[in-house]
Symmetry: C2
Subunit: 188 residues, 2 copies
Amino acid sequence: MAPIARVCFAGGQSGQWRVERIQAVTGEALPPVTHVAMLPSPEGTTKIDGSVWTLRGTAGHVRYVERSEKLALQSIQAGLGRPEATRAALIPIRKSGAWWDLAQDERRSIFEGVSHHTAVGLEYLPAVARRLFQSRELGEPFDFLTWFEYAPAHADRFEELVARLRATEEWRYVDREVDIRLSRVQDG
Amino acid sequence: MAPIARVCFAGGQSGQWRVERIQAVTGEALPPVTHVAMLPSPEGTTKIDGSVWTLRGTAGHVRYVERSEKLALQSIQAGLGRPEATRAALIPIRKSGAWWDLAQDERRSIFEGVSHHTAVGLEYLPAVARRLFQSRELGEPFDFLTWFEYAPAHADRFEELVARLRATEEWRYVDREVDIRLSRVQDG
């Protein structure tokens, strides 16, 4: 079986990403930091030494995406670490108890049937590379860590993607969201 | 938001459940122990002191169950710790990479459309109390810890349930399974 990739984002004074801004969109903010490091997550470690905060997640299987959507995503997915993608966003999200109490078909219906989450995201590929990390099962303060990488030329497109997702029915279940914008450190 | 319950099963020489037998059904066995303790899982702890093995999991949201099934399950669900339920089974399960590579609709189709997992389980409620704990995101050796409690009078019914689930299409994706049968320690 393919092992699950475990990552962590360590906010502090060092890392390959410089913080441009941290904004509390919904609920409690995160303490300000100047840099974020994206690292493999050591087993059993809940906080990286020297960090102000550490957010952990796992890159697992898809939860709502269906066969046809998965094939579409795979055909157009952009990789991380593209040289031109010098901008990034780390947007940790928590959903309410009302969301998690829904049955699978109800969540899927809101996710795609009403909110068109996957369909909207597809429109911005491959310009905006996206990754989703699951945190809920790890007992973390957020349920998901969403990660985006894009070139400065696509910054407006990225703002449009974020605005469209925040306007969806699905986002009514988000009860904490912090938006962290980043630039890659030169020669970092 | 309701916190996620984290549990662990510690196999060793003490605990409220005495081991009647441990059987490797598929793949690698677990080392033999005489007792199993079911405990709240301390944050950051991967192994309980004095245990031979510790298996950790979280009781989260449903992954495949739809609205009508969730209502049916809730209406008939049996609680844990019933005085008459002196028998238990801990059956940790791992599914293959082929399973996790499937899209959500494909997994749902095998889980319920073909294998009738929820429907079969409903037939044995409330005699057999069931709980499912997720382990995959924790980096554990198994993906799920399934837990059953039942009265000795329902032991044959429980064997029938296990046999029916193992005969399903879904079980073709199980690549490791250990079956641990337990009896509650008197005055434990």
